[in-house]
């Protein structure tokens, strides 16, 4: 698995889930420490998502789609 493939198949979806996790952490009413670091988690996910979604998928994946 090369970097483009890794980015397309793993890192981009992972960043998206980190963003979702950050939103849940920020808004959940139970654990205070999760709320405190919610924005940081969202930022990590957001930056990762913006970077990895701009890396073009490998040629095989392009022809598959």
């Amino acid at each position: 698995m090369n970097f483009r493939e890794l980015s397309n198949r793993v890192l981009e979806p992972l960043s998206m889930w980190v963003m979702v996790l950050g939103i849940v952490a920020l808004c959940q009413p139970w654990v205070e420490i999760l709320h405190r670091y919610g924005v940081t988690i969202i930022l990590f996910g957001l930056v990762g998502f913006i970077v990895f979604s701009h890396i073009k998928p490998p040629l095989e994946a392009e022809s598959d789609g």
Partner: protein
């Protein structure tokens, strides 16, 4: 300046050259966006790192990330975020159930289908302020029609801290379910009929047909509706602000308004606005991703 067009050219037939379109429409729009959107956005980012108060004639002092630290450690802000999340879950969940249900009912041959669809779409065409005032009257404990219809006598919908948020969410559900219905209806009408015929030949039951054909094919559009409504529900201000003024219905946008224009904590409110912006930006990115996926299909 506008370039001269050669007679008979495509540009001349269109009436305007690309240069003229750029000068007349694109450049003014870009200038407008920079002056009214991008400049305030960057300026407020700067303020979010200061102790600036717009009500005081004092210079802004740089305090680094202190506003962000204080906001995220503030128990009341945490409650506001949790209230907003509860509101979003109830409101968007209700809209999906009602909207999808209405789309399923309308996706069949019924008399005056066009008229019924148009009438169902009316709530989302109204102004938020009008809807808020209108539902406030409906919820009125002394002469509101909801208490009369349910036989609840003088039940307080908007003054009861346990019910008020759900009452506001119900209004939002009434207003925005048609939007979800419209998107689901588009998805349902695009499902090829031969799939249902094949399922009928195979003697598939109603539930099996729904879970294996209808739901998977509507899911992309339904997801777009959910993400779009979630994004909007997180920013809700007007409806809750007009209908109630209680702590239990204080959504994050209302807290932001109070912090900025009642307490005049300009720097801190800019920081809170940026926290909300980051959250909405994250949801927007997910929305755009699913929109592109739906387009590819």
């Amino acid at each position: 300046m506008i370039g001269r067009l050669e007679p008979g050219s495509i540009a001349a037939k269109r009436g305007m050259s690309d240069l003229a379109i750029r000068n007349l429409f694109i450049i003014p729009t870009i200038i407008f966006l920079i002056v009214f959107n991008i400049f305030p956005l960057i300026y407020s980012l700067g303020y979010s790192f200061t102790d600036f108060r717009a009500s005081m004639n004092a210079p802004a002092n740089f305090i680094g990330l202190q506003n962000y630290r204080e906001l995220l450690a503030d128990e009341y802000i945490w409650i506001n975020f949790a209230t907003t999340a509860k509101y979003v879950l109830v409101s968007v969940g209700g809209q999906v159930v009602v909207g999808f249900g209405a789309a399923l009912l309308l996706n069949r041959e019924i008399p005056a289908k066009g008229l019924v669809t148009t009438l169902l779409l009316l709530p989302m065409m109204m102004s938020m302020a009008v809807v808020g005032l209108f539902w406030k009257l409906l919820y009125s404990p002394s002469w509101g029609i909801i208490n009369y219809a349910l036989g609840l006598e003088d039940f307080e919908w908007l003054s009861n801290p346990e019910v008020a948020l759900y009452a506001v969410a119900l209004t939002d559900i009434w207003m925005w379910s048609p939007f979800v219905m419209l998107l689901c209806l588009a998805g349902l009408s695009a499902i090829p009929k031969h799939l249902y015929e094949a399922a009928a030949i195979d003697r598939a039951g109603r539930w099996y047909t729904f879970t294996r054909i209808t739901l998977p094919l509507v899911t992309p559009l339904l997801l777009i509706a959910i993400i779009f409504r979630t994004m909007e529900a997180f920013k809700t201000f007007d409806l809750a602000f007009i209908m109630t003024s209680m702590e239990s219905t204080e959504l994050i946008a209302i807290r932001l308004y109070k912090m900025a224009f009642q307490e005049w904590q300009t720097g801190k409110s800019c920081a809170l606005a940026y926290i909300v912006l980051i959250m909405v930006l994250a949801i927007t990115n997910i929305y755009v991703k699913y929109l592109n996926k739906a387009k590819e299909r």
